[in-house]
């Protein structure tokens, strides 16, 4: 099993393959361990939810409500029950996929999340396309030309991506590219003028408009998405190029590479065809994890770009004191992360020759 420390990245380690202790031999153990993790997630989110110094009752009733109305609402929400009963009720509700009603919207939290998620998916997908499209070639090049100017450039560029406060970059990007130069569209997903002309099928605007042949709207949406997606993609690019470089270095030190060279294969062919093929699986798992990290990056980026997605929903919930929504979002992110980690772990186990 790959040593975690072998992944030379600041943000990694947590997301890496070594998600499960020991060698998991049976599906049963896997299922049990997932169940335990999910239960732990629920306990942690419940704990955070109860700790929140926000007053859900006051948030519902407003500034002007009498104490009598206040206490009635408290009873209705079950907040007068002892903690362990509240927890059981919480677990029971979640198992039935009832995350409660968001105070901000008056709708079930899960419905809200379902509604805002496509915007985030679209943003993250464009971001990962940019990040992967740049990150992989840069990583491979850096490894192939180790310790040359290219390598340094890629590494520094990557480090910049790691070190960048992306909300700040977004802010500056808006000032420069939208306000000053006018090269891209402004905040939001689409111009208001177009908002009501789209027939939502997938809720992914680029896809919906392209399928309907509404190219003017498509380009408008593209102009809106390109800046935030590039900024998210920059972070992903940093991660992907770094990991690709490190995987490639490992491969390029193998004997078969030398053998290939001796046989007279060109360096380019050796690198791209032989070495890269061997790291492709590892790279795919990295891309999957980078995708998950975009969710995190999206929280602040969406706030800056007024992007109506999951990240902004969460920040709004947090600042607006919407306990159900905060807890629901945190839980959903947790579940997605567990899922993606599991996926990347499985990919790794299936394809990696050393764990086979």
């Amino acid at each position: 099993m790959a040593d975690v420390a072998a992944i030379p990245v600041s943000r990694s380690g947590r997301g890496r393959a070594a998600a499960l202790p020991g060698r998991v031999s049976t599906m049963v153990r896997l299922v049990v361990s997932i169940a335990v993790t999910l239960f732990g997630l629920m306990a942690l989110t419940f704990f955070i939810g109860r700790l929140l110094p926000l007053d859900p009752v006051a948030a519902i009733l407003g500034d002007n409500a009498s104490q009598e109305a206040y206490e009635a609402m408290q009873r209705q929400l079950g907040l007068d029950q002892p903690l362990h009963i509240q927890f059981l009720r919480y677990v029971y509700d979640i198992v039935r996929l009832d995350f409660g009603t968001a105070l901000m919207t008056g709708k079930p939290v899960l419905e809200d999340i379902r509604r805002v998620f496509p915007a985030t998916i679209e943003l993250a997908t464009v971001g990962i396309v940019i990040g992967t499209g740049l990150g992989i070639p840069l990583g491979v090049l850096a490894a192939a030309y180790r310790d040359t100017a290219i390598d340094y450039f890629v590494r520094i560029f990557g480090l910049l991506g790691y070190s960048m406060p992306n909300f700040w970059l977004g802010l500056m990007g808006l000032v420069l590219f939208y306000a000053t130069l006018g090269w891209v569209e402004g905040p939001g997903r689409i111009d208001t003028a177009y908002q009501w002309d789209i027939e939502p099928v997938t809720d992914l605007l680029l896809l919906d408009t392209a399928m309907a042949g509404q190219w003017d709207i498509f380009w408008n949406a593209f102009g809106h998405i390109i800046l935030p997606a590039s900024i998210l993609g920059f972070g992903a690019m940093a991660y992907i190029s770094r990991m690709t470089r490190s995987f490639m270095l490992e491969q390029l030190a193998q004997e078969y590479v030398i053998a290939a060279r001796v046989k007279g294969l060109s360096w380019g062919r050796t690198v791209w065809v032989h070495a890269f093929r061997n790291v492709a699986v590892q790279v795919v798992t990295v891309v999957a994890l980078a995708y998950a990290f975009l969710l995190e990056g999206a929280v602040l980026t969406e706030t800056v770009f007024a992007w109506p997605g999951f990240g902004r929903y969460l920040t709004n919930a947090l600042l607006g004191g919407d306990m159900n929504a905060v807890v629901g979002c945190t839980l959903v992110v947790g579940i997605i992360f567990v899922g993606l980690n599991l996926l990347s772990d499985l990919l790794y186990r299936i394809f990696d020759p050393r764990t086979r």
Binding site: P53, L54, D55, A58, A59, L61, G62, D63, N64, A65, S66, Q67, E68, A69, Y70, A72, A102, L103, M104, T105, G106, R115, V116, A149, Y152, F153, I156, F157, L174, Y178, A179, G182, W183, V184, E185, G186, P187, G188, D191, T192, A193, Q195, D216, W219, N220, F222, G223, I226, S230, T303, V304, A306, P308, R312, N316, L318, L319, G320, G321, D322
Partner: protein, 536 residues
Amino acid sequence: MTYRRGQTWRLALALLAGSALGGAAQAATPGNALVMAWNIDAISTFDPAQIGEVVTSELIQNTCDALVSFDPKDEAKVVPALAEGWDVAEDGRQITFRLRDKLVFPSGNPGSAKDLAWSMQRVVRLGLGNAATLTEYGFTKANVEQMISAPDDRTLVLKLDKPYPTSLILQAIAANRVATMQDRKTIMAHEVNGDLGNRYLATNTACIGPYRLRQWNSGEAVVLEANEKYWGGQPKLRRVIIRHVAEAGTQRLLLEKGDVDVARDLTPEDMQAIEKMPGITLARTLKPQLVYWGFNNAHPAFANEKVRLAMRYLIDYEALGKTVMAYNGVPRASFVQLGAFGALDAKEGQPFSLDLAKAKQLLAEGGYPDGFEASMIFSTLPYAAPIAQHIQANAAKVGVRLRLEQMANAQLFARHRGREFESVIAAWQTSVPDAQGNAARLILNPDNRAEAKLTQYPSWRHSFASEAANRIAAEALLERDEDRRVALYKQLQRDMMQSGPTAIMFQSVHLAGVRNTVKNWTWHGFGSYYELAYKE
């Protein structure tokens, strides 16, 4: 290396530029729609029995007519709305409203006085935030069916427990969202667990007004659509689209680029820039909202009225008014807002200025020559942090050490209501252009005991109880001689500027950037009238 990097940047820029060429269509808002950028985070429901915050109040005012309305041109006057006219009984304890003929809900159901009486009773029966609007004037769950009644389809009778001034009742109740006509049939069809349709109205409107709610996506947009069946004729702008934009800077950009017609949350700096810009006008009106520094009178230092008075001399009203609050408030120290019945004029209502020596002297008189320590909580509103830091810096100079703590509105709210604070920067908005509105909440405190939990009274939250002030407020309320009533309120204002529980700092100003394509944008402190606007 730098060379290569430069190249990459150029490439990236070229790619970005390419995207812009594709999206060349210049933004413009539709000609028959009003598009506004506004921070609408606070919306949580459209139930008139529950709403309290600014955004939904304005939306409900445009979607649900009340019995009477504030005159769009003069907030101090009321004009007919659902009611064509009204008669007041000799003893001032009964008002009979005559409703308009042929009122129809957007659903097609006919609207009658019975629906209206039910709607008003509903507010009291639900006991949510706005029930207080009615209970304050003696309506209770037990008596509301007798006190509000509909003898026939076009008559609504309002009985009062005391002979309140009629103008006050018209403003406070008849023009308020609690007197809107709700579509009983539609609402009750969606009742869940006896909630009288509270859940349904969280995301719907079902009432008679120039517009109706077509769509609300939390944190994204609200769309209003002209109500085809409206009695008052059709508005020129068929749609009102309110885009949620949290950042002032973004709102300004959208306005400049013509992506929106109106921007509602601009910062003073944005306003300054926009003022000079062709094609955009600044619309401005006073709001019935006061921004204040409130003291918890349970804190030993703040219990002393000399200390509270000293605090007022730590505020540089003038400098703040010219900078941080330049566009969103005017200095005001009286608890009655400008424009209200009984208010002190601008000059008399703000006698304070930054005076550290005076503050120091008052502190010494109050027994705190070396100052004291206290915390100050404030929200994330843009002006709160600069004001808090300004006061903190001045306070430090007279030995008063303030610990600042910023928090989300919801949290501030909970702390304020629970008396869990030492001092707070907060705002209070009244719904009537009458001194009574604020006197009844900011000054009057019927019961200061902790267990009374009068959390809807800021006076209670500040643990402030003054027998004398309570007496004057009660007397002024029922005084039938107008001049005498004004005199009482003026006396109360002068007293409270010296000894009141809070240092009132500013009266808020409503400001909006409006593109010149929008004509006749009409608003005042008690409403904005979308239906009067049009485009050319």
